[in-house]
């Protein structure tokens, strides 16, 4: 009987993509955690430490990154975890999909040393023609070579000014990704790579939006793709940041996205971390009502430590003392200092938020 229902459920997954909803559950997160702990060969003592200390919020993302760091050059292991994360559409406690987090960790790791040589990737692809992972690894390696410091600027606040990229190699890569879409796009990172390439060649806004819309239709959980699309509006990629709010509103208008109010704070945080840092609201006009609503939604739905910290920074930077206080002085708040960009920032915001509001203001 159990087998029967399992089969029915599996069939439903295939037909309707119903498994997508499963990825955003603690059961799926625990399953991934178990897989990673097995893969990493953790001992019972270590597992005990992990299970007692925010296993899903703190350790699951850490172990995903640890796996990328340790086994980024081991195709078999990389494929096991990469395919698992994509297939289960796992969503982390902070509301982002695990697949892009894993791929980003691999990207960071590749910056440290070249991990897989082209012939190794070719062999891997031949051995696993149905997995997205070899194609992704190959594309990432080619993108590293062609874009170099542009990629550093893409993923960090650095400027791309004065750096060069190889446009013809990027065009080749784009063609390759399109030609192999049926396999590689099983992983949501395919769309992220296409957006990245489109940003580099300063594609039309409509093209970026089409990629984001298609990617969100295929992987509605992948809110990070919508955030990646906002890169297009950063001035360092010749974008117009005054359009960030309109872009966020457009994301919300997409099918199935109307409940993702968290897109607002995520997009403005993206602009903050990837370019403006503490000067964000000096440079970019804000619709604070929308961001504020988005923060409340994000913290109610995805109360991860990282979300609380980035939201508190946004609120403090915007001058919203009430919201800053609510986040910082919630009993479960834990500081993640590296998200504040400046070692003085948490102290300044905490002290400011603690000051009593005037009677008139506290009524509002």
């Amino acid at each position: 009987m159990k087998t029967f229902w399992t089969s029915v459920f599996a069939l439903l997954c295939l037909v309707r993509g119903a498994c997508a909803a499963d990825g955003d559950s603690n059961a799926a997160r625990h399953e991934a955690l178990q897989l990673l702990m097995r893969e990493l060969g953790l001992q019972p003592r270590q597992i005990e430490v992990i299970m007692r200390d925010h296993p899903l919020d703190k350790w699951l993302p850490s172990l995903i990154e640890a796996h990328a760091r340790q086994f980024g050059k081991d195709p078999e292991r990389l494929q096991t975890v990469g395919d698992h994360l994509a297939r289960t559409r796992l969503v982390l406690v902070d509301g982002t999909m695990a697949s892009p987090v894993y791929q980003l960790a691999l990207t960071v790791e590749r910056n440290q040393l070249p991990i897989l040589r082209p012939f190794q990737i070719d062999d891997w692809q031949r051995a696993s023609p149905k997995s997205a992972q070899p194609g992704l690894a190959g594309a990432q390696a080619r993108l590293d070579l062609a874009a170099g410091d542009w990629r550093v600027a893409y993923f960090r606040a650095n400027s791309a000014e004065g750096q060069t990229l190889n446009a013809s190699q990027l065009a080749d890569l784009e063609r390759h990704l399109v030609a192999n879409k049926s396999v590689i796009a099983q992983d949501p990172t395919w769309y992220a790579l296409m957006v990245e390439l489109a940003v580099y060649r300063r594609a039309a806004e409509a093209e970026i939006k089409a990629l984001v819309a298609e990617g969100l239709l295929a992987f509605p959980e992948n809110i990070q793709l919508a955030v990646d699309g906002a890169t297009y509006y950063l001035p360092k990629w010749k974008g117009d940041p005054s359009r960030l709010g309109a872009y966020a509103a457009w994301v919300l208008s997409l099918p199935g996205m109307s409940n993702r109010l968290d897109i607002y704070p995520r997009i403005y945080s993206h602009a903050l971390y990837r370019q403006f840092r503490l000067t964000l609201f000096r440079a970019v006009a804000k619709d604070w009502d929308a961001i504020r609503r988005g923060i409340r939604h994000m913290l109610a739905t995805y109360p991860a430590k990282s979300n609380k910290n980035s939201a508190a920074l946004l609120a403090c930077l915007a001058g919203d003392r009430e919201l800053t206080h609510q986040i910082l002085y919630e009993p479960a708040f834990e500081l993640e200092a590296e998200l504040w960009l400046d070692h003085d920032a948490p102290g300044l915001c905490m002290q400011w938020a603690r000051q009593p509001m005037s009677a008139e203001r506290s009524k509002t």
Binding site: L40, G41, L42, Q43, R45, Q46, E48, V49, R52, K58, W59, S62, L63, A66, Q70, E76, R77, A157, S159, Q275, F276, R277, L278, T279, L280, F281, R282, A285, K286, D287, W288, D289, R292, C316, L317, A318, G319, D320, R321, A337, L341, D342, H343, D344, A345, G347, L348, C349, Q351, W352, R354, Q355, S358, R361, T364
Partner: protein, 386 residues
């Protein structure tokens, strides 16, 4: 499929723990925070009153694109924390348990010892490197398991460099770390995580192992560990002062000997201010090559780093000596780290003249570990000018 060895597993656990700098910064000294409350331009909703962000105080110190580059006020020419991080990197790599990392660590420590290398602020590099293994400075080694995980790389280090004393000193430090963990945090009895270590036993084992090492010229760390152990085992203030005096004859120029020694004595005595003044004078006397009073000022600074700069008011600082020592330090090591910390101490102690002399040399961004918050720096600067 290979299984990672236990050292790699330890690495994963350790790597995921936050990496802290010196974990206990002086407390903030601001009594009044940012107070301007104006409505921000561009507010969308009239009902929602946004105030001026307290983070605006940082904007003069970040560039137009949010970085600290190309500022009219100039960024800090020298970043002490980055310097310390780079000095400590070989000690961080130690946990990877790779032969090349361990031999590099050993070579680096030998070089620091042989050349008595200092960082640009005048601190002893060997001491800074040792600090990365010390639970007193870094929270990661306050976890008993982490001190335990260190035994594998230490043993490999010993096998790679059997003649080197450093792995043995670090091994002793791990015993101190475990004793520290056992005496400061014990989960409830019956818990599977309960720390059942006996701190006294560990300390005695550590002292025995250090005694076997014999003299360590140029390396005061074994003496410092012994003094700390004696303090934890209940030695009297007079006994500790005697140990500091003896150790300072062997290795006079290690500042940590006086600083840590003073903290140890202060934890046991009824007269912390008196003993601190005595040890600061002893430090100056033992180190004439550093200047007449440089180590006097540095000893106070070292201790205040741990107990909070505002507490300087409870001490018996001879401000003339302090001003003289500060001048010597800044003349020889003219980095903002020195200038601003010494200025903050003088300011907190109400010593206007030395504070003015120092704060006039302050440039670039106020250093948070000195001032707590930037507004305190501004207030201090205004006070010295009035």
């Amino acid at each position: 499929m290979t299984t990672p060895n236990s050292a790699i597993v330890a690495l994963i656990i350790l790597a995921a723990w936050p990496i802290y700098g010196l974990s206990r910064a002086p407390s903030a000294q601001v009594t009044e925070g940012p107070s301007t409350s104006t409505k921000a331009p561009g507010t969308q909703n009239a009902e929602l009153s946004l105030e001026r962000s307290p983070l605006e105080v940082l904007l003069p110190y970040v560039g137009p694109d949010g970085t600290e580059k190309n500022l009219p006020v100039g960024p800090l020419a020298y970043d002490q924390k980055s310097t310390i991080r780079s000095i400590q990197e070989p000690a961080f790599q130690f946990r990877y348990n790779r032969p090349e990392s361990l031999t590099l660590l050993d070579d680096t420590m030998h070089r620091y010892l042989k050349n008595r290398e200092r960082d640009p602020s005048g601190l002893d590099k060997l001491t800074l490197l040792y600090a990365r293994f010390d639970a007193f400075y870094f929270q990661d080694y306050q976890i008993r398991e982490n001190a335990g995980f260190a035994s594998a790389p230490i043993e490999k280090w010993r096998s790679l460099r059997p003649q080197s004393r450093f792995p043995q000193v670090v091994r002793a430090m791990m015993l101190m770390n475990r004793a520290f963990a056992a005496s400061t945090g014990r989960p409830g009895v019956g818990s599977s995580m309960a720390n059942t270590d006996d701190p006294n036993e560990l300390l005695e084992q550590m002292v025995t192992e250090l005694d076997k090492l014999g003299p360590t010229p140029g390396d005061a760390q074994p003496d410092i560990l012994r003094i700390r152990a004696r303090a934890m085992l209940g030695a009297s203030d007079a006994e500790l002062l005697k140990l500091i005096d003896e150790a300072s004859r062997r290795n006079p120029s290690t500042l940590e000997l006086y600083g840590m020694g003073a903290l140890s004595v202060m934890s046991t005595t009824d007269d912390p201010a008196g003993y601190l003044e005595t040890i600061a004078r002893l430090a100056a006397e033992r180190t004439p090559e550093e200047g007449k009073n440089a180590y006097y000022a540095r000893t106070y600074w070292w201790v205040l780093t741990w107990i909070g700069i505002p507490n300087v008011r409870d001490f018996k600082v001879d401000w003339e000596r302090f001003a003289d020592g500060s001048r010597e330090i800044v003349d020889r090591y003219p980095v903002q780290w020195n200038i601003q910390h010494l200025a903050a101490i003088a300011c907190a102690g109400g010593a206007k003249d030395p504070a003015r002399a120092l704060i006039n040399g302050a440039k670039g961004r106020p250093i948070s570990s000195a001032w707590g918050q930037i507004t305190y720096f501004q207030r201090c600067r205004d006070w010295t000018r009035n």
